[in-house]
Amino acid sequence: MTERGEQREIRMFRRPLITLEGWRDTKAGMWAWLLVRISAVLIVLLLAAHLVYPYAVSVQFMLLLCLTFHAVLGLRVIMMDLGVAVKFQKPLFAALSLLGLAIFLLIWWGRL
């Protein structure tokens, strides 16, 4: 019981952000959340790029892609907040991603 009095170092580990070990078991709900955040940041950057280069096809492509995914996954966020289909969040993520892809392709191929 001598250790009781000693100053013990408290060590707490957070899931590491920059190692493979920290990401090896990333789940569907986490990916859905991450994609919304990443696409949000990309939209801000691509929007600025789009203002400067309005006719750059690559920028248009990326911007539309980010916007459609941000939009459909945003629908999922709203549904989760309202308690709609919370138990089915995983298939919902898959279905909305496919919907987003379909909308994206429809707009991209349907454009003039």
Partner: protein, 408 residues
């Protein structure tokens, strides 16, 4: 069937300041060997100093929760044969203070449970618990959520528990949910009000990490969502929880402000970004709304004009500079020069009805619009059709032999 699997086991250093390491062990496994069996084998045959915690070994006590191959699991309920990876990596739960090797201090879970008032203190004298019949509506809501045995897996999996010490986390909020729904517990509104503080319910980011790892297959994320909606509803319906919530929120805010200047930094960064983006956005949108318009007024010289016959409009073409959505651009323009008995005039041939291009027709001696049958005489006056106004007269100026038309 006997095989063997390599285990990478987290080992904390004996002395402080030395970083932890992973030890490798080759462990014989059968089809039914669990991770807990493997750890016990290592302890008895390879390294008696390996520390891990367990009690029941059959998934009832929740004391052997650890991170196996990146996911929080109970060692006793995880079959080694179900691991897809060749190596099995075992490490202690995240977000809990490390005691030794795979053993963590579970005190933060108790502390967080206490923070949300996890004990059921029945209303009234507290001596008799009113029974709730098994077919009561609230039982149907509470029952699926009450099975938590406090293993801590969800707290380890939740990213927000790590970033925000004030956030009670999944298991405590699930417990709070069962208490709010429980008719024996007093004042659900008061409990909801305290949960409305900034750092309680609203720090869940609905990532479903807790739900994904819960060995009891509970759904804390859904419970947090239900609590949120209930809490907001209680705000809308009652008067006093609002004040309580506001007080709790302000206390939490001021505490957070001193502890987390990060919040101010983020507010500043967002404001800066918005300001930076609004300038080009306003310019582009403004230009878009204004559309194209002529640049500054300009006199355009008509050169090499053939002699102008009286009573016979002459078409001239020239280039004018316009501002289109903020860009300067020159576009081709058309005008008619008309000499009548007493004066020289110039008309913009654009129809004043809907903007089609009119043409001088010698047979009818009218400017005719092909779109809706509008017609203007040689003076530019409307003689037929829908145009509301005469043709727009352009200002002209003669200087010596040259003629100038004014644009803009």
């Amino acid at each position: 069937m006997v095989g063997s699997t390599t285990f990478r086991v987290f080992r904390s250093a004996a002395s402080p300041g030395v970083s932890p390491r992973y030890d490798r062990f080759r462990v014989p496994v059968r089809e039914q060997t669990t991770v807990l069996d493997a750890l016990a084998w290592i302890q008895t045959t390879q390294d008696p100093t390996l520390a891990f915690r367990h009690a029941c070994r059959v998934g009832m006590c929740g004391s052997c929760a650890m991170v196996v191959n990146g996911r929080e699991r109970w060692a006793c309920r995880t079959l080694v044969s179900t691991m897809r990876e060749r190596e099995v990596t075992v490490r202690p739960l995240y977000q809990f203070p490390l005691v030794k090797d795979l053993v963590v201090d579970m005190a933060p879970l108790r502390e967080r449970m206490g923070r949300i008032g996890s004990a059921l203190r029945p209303a009234g004298n507290g001596r008799s618990f009113a029974p709730i019949s098994s077919d009561a509506a609230e039982r149907a809501i509470i029952d699926p959520a009450i099975e938590c045995i406090g293993c801590g897996a969800c707290l380890s999996a939740c990213t927000m528990v790590g970033w925000r010490p004030e956030f009670p986390g999944p298991a405590p909020l699930l417990r709070a949910f069962t208490l709010v729904e429980d008719s024996r517990a007093p004042a659900p509104d008061r409990r909801l009000a305290s949960l409305l503080a900034d750092d309680a319910l609203w720090h869940c980011h609905t990532q479903f990490n807790c739900t994904a790892v819960c060995p009891m297959e509970l759904n804390p994320t859904e419970a947090i969502g239900r609590l949120r909606r209930k809490a907001v509803a209680s705000l809308l319906l009652a008067q006093h929880p609002l004040e309580t919530a506001e007080k709790a929120r302000m206390q939490a805010d001021s505490a957070a402000e001193t502890q987390f200047p990060r919040r101010r930094l983020i507010h500043g960064a967002v404001a800066g970004l918005a300001a930076a983006l609004s300038v080009p956005l306003a310019a582009i949108l403004g230009a878009g709304i204004l559309g194209s318009r002529p640049a500054e007024p300009q006199w355009i010289r008509m050169s090499d004009l053939p002699p102008l016959e009286a009573g016979r409009p002459q078409e001239v073409r020239y280039e004018a500079t316009i501002l289109e959505k903020g860009h300067r651009r020159s576009i081709p323009k058309r005008a008619y020069l008309v000499r009548t008995a007493d004066r020289l005039a110039a008309f913009d041939p654009q129809c004043t009805h809907l903007g089609c291009a009119t043409r001088w027709d010698e047979a009818t001696r009218l400017f005719l619009c092909p779109c809706h049958g509008g017609g203007y005489n040689i003076e530019g006056q409307v003689v037929m059709g829908p145009p509301p106004r005469p043709l727009r007269a352009l200002e002209i100026r003669a200087e010596g032999k040259d003629l100038y038309i004014r644009e803009g």
